[in-house]
């Protein structure tokens, strides 16, 4: 019988073990390929067990080191953390398989370094999911930034260096200048770095300061990519596609919105937010980001850039859900972490597949190629429908709850925002399969997609349909977040 404490260790340590073992297996091509997927399977096995314990309302905490009095690093199981941990570790399995196909198909250099830092980044993301206090959260937030830097600058050319500089300066800068003092402010106000299910600030912080502190958190969490600190995400698209797929559509950005939700629910507390109205400005900022980036996405011809802006827009759904401060909206926001992850990773997988198969990066080059690679465009179509929120794709669930939450909160305008954004989503995502299947072919290109790329892409796109029917355990978890409010 393995205790939950050990499951936490298994889940967070297996990517780290993969990271450490990778350099030693660099001579053996078979072994290095197997490391990632096996690590992912072990890690998500642990994450599943953790989720099970969260469903049974077990409270598990695990202290790792005590740095000084009242400052320690530790992990615990929360419903939201269980969701994010499972998403990151489970999708890592497919991303790991996919990256073998991608890196080989593209004949990339420095593959060992790539795999090692890839696993390191997953490790940091999972640690964020189970962080028990703000300091642990912050530490792994920073490790995540640093471990993705070698991945973003993987090509080591001038563009990559420039993008890397922008990436680091925005993410490290915002977190160090704003997030850290915000965390220390909470520490000074409440006397501890702990978080609790109902928030810790009520009665400890003068309500007049609440909007300021919230602003420090919101702009400090650069990974959530709210405007105007979203520029790093399009810049990070210079990285190889497996990085964009798992990290910049799932692990890194979801770590950002996860931190945002944790701060809104477990530090401020939804009650405190609703009472003080501290988050009202955040609703408008998130709505603006949501629409503005959707419009920008329409004008991007580069496929990955369009997906990046679409990601920023979808992240704002989650922030918006948290800021609305009702139980339905929070539930929708938490569900959106899962649903968007499954959909967006598929879309990025397709973008990478097209690059490996035919060196296509521009949407305008896709005309008429649907017939030569029907499966991959079908996968894109299914993923897009999920992002847009059409049943029976899983994306419809989270949109449904978010809309209910908006109605609950009384901000009717927000419902309108969701509707307009859905139309925009459809507009910029549907263009791609439409061009591929219905436009006239301009030139002959032979698209050859390796099996190791095709299979994970099909699995994740199938996942968006499958999850629609098996959303119940996740919905139970999210309703636990909501019921505690």
């Amino acid at each position: 019988m393995i205790t939950i404490e050990n499951f936490i260790l298994i889940t967070i340590l297996s990517p780290l073990v993969v990271c450490v073992l990778t350099p030693f297996t660099s001579k053996n091509t078979i072994l290095i390929d197997f490391l990632g997927p096996i690590g992912g399977i072990i890690s998500s096995w642990g994450a599943l067990n953790i989720m099970n314990s969260a469903l049974n309302n077990q409270n598990t905490t695990l202290e790792i080191v005590k740095i000084a009095e009242g400052v320690s690093i530790g992990f615990e199981v929360t419903p939201l953390g269980a969701i994010f941990g499972l998403v990151a570790s489970f999708l890592w399995i497919f991303a790991a398989i996919y990256s073998i196909g991608y890196m080989r198909g593209n004949k990339e250099k420095n593959q060992t370094r790539f795999y090692a830092f890839y696993a390191m980044a997953v490790h940091a993301a999972i640690c964020i999911a189970y962080a028990s206090d703000l300091l642990t959260l912050f530490i792994f937030y920073e490790i995540l930034t640093f471990s993705t830097y070698p991945l973003v600058t993987h090509n080591q050319n001038e563009t990559a260096q420039k993008a890397g500089r922008l990436y680091m300066s925005i993410l490290v800068g915002s977190s160090v200048i704003l997030l850290l003092p915000a965390i220390i402010w909470v520490w000074v106000a409440t006397g501890s770095l702990e978080m609790s299910q109902n928030g810790v600030l009520e009665g400890k912080l003068d309500a007049a300061y609440a909007p300021l502190l919230l602003a420090m958190f919101v702009f400090g969490i650069g990974k959530a990519a709210l405007m105007p600190i979203h520029k790093w995400l399009p810049a990070a698209m210079v990285a190889p596609t497996p990085v964009s797929a798992l990290l910049h559509a799932v692990a890194v950005v979801k770590a950002g919105v996860f931190t945002m939700l944790i701060v809104l629910t477990n530090v401020f507390g939804i009650d405190f937010l609703a009472k003080t109205g501290a988050s009202e400005w955040l609703i408008w900022l998130a709505s603006f980001t949501l629409l503005a980036t959707s419009i920008i996405a329409i004008y991007k011809d580069d496929l990955k850039a369009r997906l990046a802006y679409s990601t920023i827009s979808q992240l704002s759904y989650i922030t918006l859900g948290g800021a609305l401060a009702t139980s339905m909206a929070t539930q929708g926001a938490a569900l959106h972490i899962i649903t968007h992850a499954a959909g967006k990773i598929t879309l990025f997988f397709v973008a990478g597949a097209l690059y490996v198969g035919a060196k296509i990066t521009k949407i305008s080059d896709l005309n008429g190629h649907g017939i030569s690679a029907p499966l991959i465009f079908l996968a894109f179509f299914v993923g897009s429908l999920s992002i847009i929120g059409v049943p029976p794709m899983v994306g419809s669930w989270s949109k449904f709850f978010l809309m209910l939450g908006a109605a609950d909160s009384g901000y009717v305008v927000v419902i309108g925002v969701f509707c307009i954004s859905t139309i925009l989503n459809a507009f910029y995502l549907m263009e791609i399969p439409a061009r591929a299947f219905f436009f006239k072919k301009e030139r002959e290109i032979n698209i050859k997609i390796p099996k190791l790329i095709l299979i994970p892409t099909l699995i994740t796109s199938f996942l968006t349909i499958l999850l629609f029917f098996f959303i119940e355990p996740f919905q139970n978890l999210t309703s636990m977040i909501a019921s505690k409010i």
């Binding site: 000084a68 009095e69 912050f138 080591q156 160090v176 200048i177 850290l180 220390i184 402010w185 000074v188």
Partner: protein, 496 residues
């Protein structure tokens, strides 16, 4: 035997390097003079550890030199405050001496090496004397011993680069001005109070109110020490001196020299003048606080535009000294503790960075500028790795010692209603990432010529130790944090 040793520890800590320095000068052999220096710094470190244990029991040791009872005789005081700089100085000088073995003969004429080691020990003795003495005039003597020895050490860099002579001359003149100002201040205080013993001064100042001579004396002392501590804008001697000194000397000076003076600054502000609250508070608020903020930004910005790496690190030291004086300027118990935490952490951070950079200089055999570093990260993985870790520590990223200092400094400033101070501190430390990243990126990204064949273990051993300390004290900071809080408690506990 042991009993006598323990009883006389406060003076032995100073005498050990002082006496050995006289001995070392007689040994012409490079290896033996180094071995003797290493032995004596090791013994000094050992004695300071013993002293630390004594302090845990007695908390205040007063030692009357030559059995002349204070306040007439010279008193040596070791308490929970003084032990922090003692440990820093003796520990770092031990590591720096190990490091010096390979580096020193490369940069200095063979025949003067034993003289250098003699000066080296003399400087260490001076610094240790500075922090142990309880007598204001005796402090001046040690101040001069340490500065003259370090000036001579800096001048030794002339064998490689004649600029060192200018640097040493600057250091000498400015240092002498500082020391003179200090001694004028001591003279004025002596005129008003009739005593030189620090503890006695504290008591007698309490009875004197609003005496002009007292205020002037205070001003002279503070400014004199601020010159020595390189508080902005009195720091101009520092970048040149650190940049052109022989590599091992840069390591020693950067990690220890200003720390002793900062400690004296804290002593003057919070212990000698603890009874003239208005005077001290006004000085903190209107002089030290703005200067610290200026130092934080000016030092960092200078570092960003600097191409020569040793100078860059020296500018960064000016900024880091700004953090420490800022902590003192806030003036609460938590902030002074944060100042001492950073004093300790900065010593191990800057020591590590200087060791890393000077080992690179050893291999490429020319001045280290940003452009010379291309591709060295891949050729010297150990040195590079340690450099990156120490840089992260300087920038204050979690799991490193530097994070702990920032954490407590910011906590202290927020709890004394200075959230804007906290934001300024963080902006400045985020800016420090800019210059550190500049170095790391060049070392890692650019292609370079193959220069380095193999890293030399005798050089990187001390680098590894000091980097390990940076990580260890980031993970288990209770020793430093508790020690610093006890020190702050001792300094201002009974007033505020």
């Amino acid at each position: 035997m042991i009993d006598i040793l323990i009883k006389n520890l406060p003076i032995i800590v100073v005498l050990c390097p002082l006496m050995m320095s006289l001995l070392v000068v007689l040994i012409p052999n490079i290896f033996f003079s180094w071995a003797l220096t290493t032995l004596s710094t090791f013994l000094t470190f050992l004695f300071s550890i013993l002293l630390y244990q004594e302090i845990q029991i007695h908390s205040h040791i007063s030692y009357a030199l030559g059995k002349w009872m204070p306040p007439i005789g010279i008193e040596y005081i070791i308490d929970k405050v003084a032990i922090i700089p003692i440990i820093i100085i003796s520990g770092i000088s031990f590591l720096a001496t190990i490091f010096a073995y390979k580096i020193m003969p490369e940069e200095i004429e063979k025949k003067s090496i034993s003289k250098v080691y003699s000066l080296w020990l003399l400087a260490i003795a001076g610094l240790l004397g500075l922090v142990t003495t309880g007598d204001a005039f005796n402090l001046f003597v040690f101040l001069e011993i340490s500065s003259l020895a370090s000036v001579a050490l800096v001048a030794m860099g002339a064998h490689k680069d004649k600029q060192a002579l200018v640097a040493a001359y600057n250091y000498l003149i400015i240092g002498a001005v500082g020391a003179t100002l200090y001694v004028i201040g001591v003279g004025l205080l002596y005129g008003v109070t009739g005593t030189l013993n620090m503890a006695d001064l504290t008591n007698r100042i309490a009875d004197i109110n609003n005496n002009r001579a007292l205020i002037a004396g205070f001003g002279f002392m503070i400014i004199g020490i601020m010159v020595k501590a390189a508080v902005f804008p009195l720091h101009i001697w520092l970048p040149r001196a650190y940049a052109y000194a022989p590599s091992a000397v840069s390591v020693l000076l950067a990690a220890t020299a200003t720390k002793a003076s900062l400690y004296i600054l804290a002593r003057i502000l919070f212990s000698i003048f603890e009874n003239s609250e208005d005077l001290v508070n006004n000085t903190l608020l209107f002089v030290i606080l703005p200067l610290s903020l200026l130092a934080m930004f000016a030092g960092t910005i200078m570092a960003i535009y600097e191409k020569d790496i040793k100078r860059l690190l020296a500018h960064s030291s000016v900024a880091q000294i700004g953090y420490i004086t800022l902590a003192f300027a806030i003036g609460t118990k938590a902030s002074i503790a944060a100042g001492f935490i950073h004093m300790f952490n900065h010593a191990i951070i800057k020591g590590g960075l200087f060791i890393a950079i000077t080992s690179i200089a050893f291999y490429i055999n020319k001045r280290v500028t940003v452009n010379n570093l291309s591709g060295l990260g891949r050729e010297m993985p150990i040195t590079f790795f340690c450099f990156v870790l120490c840089s992260l520590s300087l920038a204050g990223l979690p799991l490193t010692a530097g994070f702990i200092s920032k954490l407590y400094l910011i906590k202290a400033s927020i709890s004394s209603d200075g959230i804007w101070l906290a934001v300024l501190i963080l902006i400045s430390s985020a800016l420090s990432v800019v210059y550190l990243w500049k170095i790391i990126e060049v070392m890692w990204m650019r292609e370079g010529k193959k220069i380095v064949k193999k890293e030399n273990p005798t050089i990187y051993i001390s680098l590894i130790i000091i980097t390990f300390l940076n990580i260890y004290f980031g993970l288990d900071a209770s020793l430093v944090v508790n020690g610093s809080f006890e020190a702050a408690d001792k300094l201002i506990g009974d007033i505020k």
